[in-house]
């Protein structure tokens, strides 16, 4: 074991030696090493979070044909630091009639519910916090705490907009949690484990994105909805309810909601990478070749993971800045009448085919899984088109295709 192939354990053993050398009891030394490891992990996440503020602002600027922050530091890189200083020294206002204790707990809980996800996030094969055998449900459990934080914020602010925003956000989050939980079953079935690390390793030969592209799509949609990002951002709809559940929050308390949302988006990008794109690995067996042995170095794996997570995050931003907000009835109908049935169909399909096709040779298995997803997707689109046609006929709206031909003439 060297620093380069197992850095965490290497430093852990070294620290253990140092601490027991100071005549600390072994239990206390282990505990202290845990605490140091956790603090390093959280500080890494927080530093990344500060970077994400810059990335987010820069990317949205490019999407909207602007420059973005470019005054403070090279390319405006110091801008987030200035933002943080501003937030910390701003006056903290607690509105009249607010439920003070609940009001103050809510932003902390919102941030914690995101930070705690990093306990199970494997950055590389040897850099991870803990390999929980119920990892996937842990993600859902952390999301439950986030939901609670939002309802606490909305209720305690004593503000109509905050309450409305919280209700919209919570009904949004709980509705889209259903397709998400159902889709989380698909990597579980394919990898035969709920451990996040086990799922990553199960994809070293084949990404689950290829075995079940529909699951990836549904997971992406429900992840965006869980984050409350556009097009599901009606919880903070500026033009109607101003800012939603965090309307009364100022200074650093607002800062935690904002930072939590950004880190949450990145973390979900990371989970998309882990569940469907092989996380830190997934090189289709390339890393077994001697020429590509460097892919097994933990730091390279961590870079690969962060690159994949950034890509997922970028897709989430891309959707956010390109799609307009949808109405709440559309949002709920889309979930319950479309996503939930579709995800159940995908689940049954995966469970059955995975059992039946597993005896076949590998390429046929992959082809069968991929093909079945394509068939389901095609049938779904056909059903939607037929429904749309019927609906237009009922409401006497001319067919859009005929309409465009008319205009062309």
């Amino acid at each position: 074991m060297t620093f380069w192939n197992n850095p965490i354990n290497f430093i852990g053993y070294w620290l253990n030696g140092v601490l027991t050398g100071w005549h600390l009891p072994a239990v206390l030394a282990t505990l202290l090493i845990y605490v140091i490891g956790i603090i390093v992990m959280i500080l890494f996440a927080m530093t990344l979070d500060i970077g994400l503020v810059w990335v987010e602002r820069k990317v949205v600027a490019r999407f909207q044909d602007r420059l973005g922050p470019n005054r403070i530091g090279p390319f405006g890189l110091i801008q987030p630091v200035a933002d943080i200083i501003k937030m910390v020294i701003k006056e903290d206002i607690t509105p009249d009639g607010a439920d003070k204790i609940v009001y103050n707990i809510a932003p902390v809980l919102a941030a914690t519910s995101v930070i705690v996800l990093w306990a199970i996030l494997p950055l590389a094969s040897t850099i991870y916090g803990v390999d929980l055998n119920v990892g996937l449900l842990f993600i859902v459990a952390a999301g439950a705490l986030g939901t609670l934080a939002i309802i606490m914020a909305g209720w305690s602010s004593n503000n109509k907009y905050a309450l409305l925003g919280a209700f919209r956000m919570v009904s949004n989050m709980i509705s889209y949690e259903i397709p998400m939980v159902i889709i989380l079953l698909i990597p579980t079935i394919l990898a035969d484990t709920m451990s996040v690390r086990g799922i990553t390793q199960a994809q070293s030969g084949m990404w689950f994105a290829i075995l079940s592209p529909l699951a990836l799509l549904i997971f992406l949609i429900s992840a965006i909805a869980e984050l409350g990002r556009s097009p599901f951002d009606l919880n903070e709809a500026e033009s109607e309810i101003v800012a939603g559940f965090h309307i009364e929050y100022t200074g650093m308390k607002f800062g935690w909601f904002y930072a939590g949302e950004l880190l949450h988006a990145f973390t979900f990008g990371g989970f998309i990478a882990i569940l469907f794109f092989g996380g830190y690995g997934g090189f289709f067996g390339l890393e077994k070749l001697a020429a590509f042995a460097w892919l097994n170095i933990p730091f390279v794996q961590a870079l690969v993971f962060i690159a994949k997570a950034m890509f997922g995050y970028w897709v989430i931003m891309w959707v956010k800045y390109s799609v307009p907000r949808i109405r709440i009835d559309h949002m709920l109908a889309f979930n319950w009448k479309f996503l939930v049935p579709l995800s159940l169909v995908v689940l049954v399909n995966t469970a059955l085919l995975n059992k039946i096709l597993i005896v076949l040779p590998n390429w046929l298995y992959v082809l069968g899984m991929f093909g079945s997803n394509i068939v389901i997707g095609y049938v779904t689109v056909e059903i939607l088109r037929a429904y749309g046609r019927k609906q237009r006929k009922a409401e006497q709206i001319p067919d859009p295709q005929a309409h465009t031909q008319e205009q062309a003439v």
Binding site: K90, I93, D96, A351, L352
Partner: protein, 118 residues
């Protein structure tokens, strides 16, 4: 006790402390000059009318109800999903039956018009 839960517990505790630190720091350095106008409820500058407790649609509640049932059932599918590799095909069918009963509930709620917003 397993070390993994100890780790998660410590992570949770430190995950609470980390957001609290800047808040405490802000409390020390930020100015505090409260006045009634500043602390009044923000409604885009207009005077607040009535209490903040507006009557909201009961439909929110109905969706929470449907959610509860689906959440519990889909969580129960996880142990089932972990056994598929070892056990024969009829175990898959047991799960499909379970999902079928779930779908029956969804169809009922749909037909009853509970999934409509208005």
């Amino acid at each position: 006790m397993q070390n993994e839960w100890l780790y998660i517990g410590l992570f949770l505790v430190i995950g609470i402390i980390v957001p609290v630190v800047p808040l405490v720091f802000a409390r020390l350095v930020a100015p505090r000059k409260p006045n009634p106008i500043k602390q009044s409820t923000y409604e885009c500058g207009i005077e607040t009318v009535g209490e903040s407790w507006v009557q909201f649609k009961a439909q929110y509640y109905v969706f929470a109800l449907v959610f509860l049932v689906f959440d519990v059932e889909s969580v129960f599918l996880f142990p089932w999903a972990l056994t598929l590799k070892q056990l024969p095909l009829f175990v898959v069918l047991e799960g499909v039956l379970f999902i079928g009963i779930l779908v029956a509930g969804l169809v009922y709620a749909w037909r009853k018009g509970m999934l409509e917003w208005v």
